[in-house]
């Protein structure tokens, strides 16, 4: 503590500059995330859709998958719900950034932590951790429920190898897609815009590039972020032409890193 006497004779005590490090910013972002209801609704939706739809799809398709006319692998169904759960991960990624812009909260955030890169990093880290845990747990519950029905038809899968990888792979994919959306959110600063752009890129454009002819089209399809990143979240991909799990995830990671870097540059320059 430092004390200064002013001309008027009043004593002013100003706390000695205590450095608030990155840990403090992390704690603040964690508090922010868990103190709004939208977070819990989105997490609940991720779980219900992700695990529920997997169980539902396995229940509905188990006898067909076990029959000789099946042309898909049960491995494509055991994390089926994650294809839909990725939408709620996008919503959560957008909300943690864009509601701050919509409400003006971002000014409080940057006044409290002027090093904007730290805010970006802390927000990202907190969200990635939450989505990884939620994604992995969701996939595991979906597996337990879905595999029960597959087992009854004699096509159950053990929790090992690619199946095990698809469990934490689901966590990784949701975390990645959340991070991707955070970057887009900082670039666009608008909730509806961010969600639309990311979902269009992942779900619509990702399928439409199939129509581009030739090798160019094939590669474009492989490299689209949703296509490259999602393979890690399933033991057997519905689309056999995509990159393999870890190569795809590395491509997706690189794309996310580029967007985050762009967001960081813009964030530093732009007035809040």
């Amino acid at each position: 503590m430092t004390a200064t006497m002013t001309e008027g004779g009043t004593l002013v005590v100003s706390p000695a500059a205590t450095t608030a490090g990155f840990g403090a910013v992390l704690r603040a972002e964690w508090l922010k995330l868990r103190t709004v209801r939208s977070t819990w609704w989105t997490v609940l939706a991720t779980f219900v859709l992700g695990a529920g739809l997997t169980v539902l799809m396995c229940w509905g398709n188990a006898d067909w998958l076990a029959s000789p006319e099946a042309d898909e692998s049960p491995g494509s169904f055991i994390t089926w719900g994650m294809m839909i759960a990725q939408i709620t991960a996008v919503v959560l990624g957008a909300l943690v950034v864009t509601t701050e812009y919509a409400t003006g909260m971002i000014r409080s955030s940057f006044a409290a932590v002027p090093a904007r890169g730290r805010v970006l990093a802390a927000k990202s880290l907190v969200l990635v951790t939450v989505l990884f845990v939620v994604g992995t747990v969701t996939a595991l519950v979906g597996y337990l429920g879905g595999n029960y029905f597959l087992d009854q038809e004699g096509i159950g899968m053990a929790l090992e190898g690619d199946v095990l990888r698809s469990m934490y792979g689901s966590g990784l994919y949701l975390a990645g897609i959340g991070l991707f959306t955070v970057a887009v959110g900082f670039l666009l600063r608008h909730t509806a815009g961010t969600i639309s752009v990311v979902l269009a890129l992942m779900l619509i454009l990702g399928n439409m590039v199939n129509l581009v002819p030739g090798t160019f089209g094939e590669w474009l399809t492989k490299l689209m972020p949703g296509n490259a990143g999602s393979v890690v979240s399933t033991p057997v991909s519905f689309n056999p032409d995509l990159l393999d799990a870890w190569t795809g995830f590395a491509v997706f990671g690189a794309e996310t890193a580029v967007l985050l870097a762009a967001a960081y540059v813009v964030l530093r320059r732009r007035d809040a």
Binding site: G8, T10, T18, A28, L31, S108, A115, D271
Partner: protein, 310 residues
Amino acid sequence: MIRAHALTKRFATEKGQSRVAVDGVDFVVEPGRVTGFLGPNGAGKSTTMRMILGLDAPTSGTVSVNGHRYAAAPAPLREIGALLDAHAIHPGRSARDHLRWMAASNGIPTTRVGEVLELVGLESVAGQRAGRYSLGMGQRLGIAAAMLGDPPVVVLDEPVNGLDPEGIRWVRTFARQLADEGRTVFISSHLMSEMALMADHLLVIGRGSILADCSMSDFMADHAASYVRVKAPALVDVAHLLSGRGLDVTRVDDELRVSGLDAPAVGELAFRHGLMLHELTLVRSSLEDAFMALTADSVEYHAATEGALR
């Protein structure tokens, strides 16, 4: 202490040109007094305050808080507390949670949250979602957030907006108390009457330039025009007499407005020439009038009727 040097902010306009919001201003906001930051809407008050807090980057020039750039502070909330916008709060988060994350971000103990809630009188509603707050409660929460780090410098942008008379009075007393404790208090407002009651020192800004930087009393003496109102049965004779002495006399309806001489002198003069007076009053314009006169040229948006009357 806040120190601005040649502080300038230009914004790009839609037509590809640039508009100067703050034009090379120099000022120092001293501790131990309430400094009022006065200017019409659009004069550059909020932009200046945002630059102080590092939210907007100056186009050129510098501004420092306690001798260094705001962004260089390791725990900025302990150096400067700001109420920039009562809406800079997530409507779905409770007041207590809002203050908790802010405290956490700057390593301020959580016990301080309860203290500032009590300070602004929001303890009983601290668990409610901030979106349900009235404008006045939002302002109080903003002030609580500003005081969280017990900062030596407090910046309040339009703190009395939306407050009821009791709240306005509370802010006034609170600002005074902070200044008496030796803190630097910088308050913006476009309400002149409020400033007259609150500020010791005035910084007047118009169209991005500092128009006045002086004590409240100096400002009144320099800019609040005064004249002597004279009413008399023989108004023309009195007017003749006074203007013959080189005084500035204007007739408005049934009265004369005389400047350049004080009321007793005008009365004596009339008496010596045998002229009877019915009224002799010193009229001093309010801070509001003084402000209007000073910023008349720099008001961004005139009402249409006002323009038509000119």
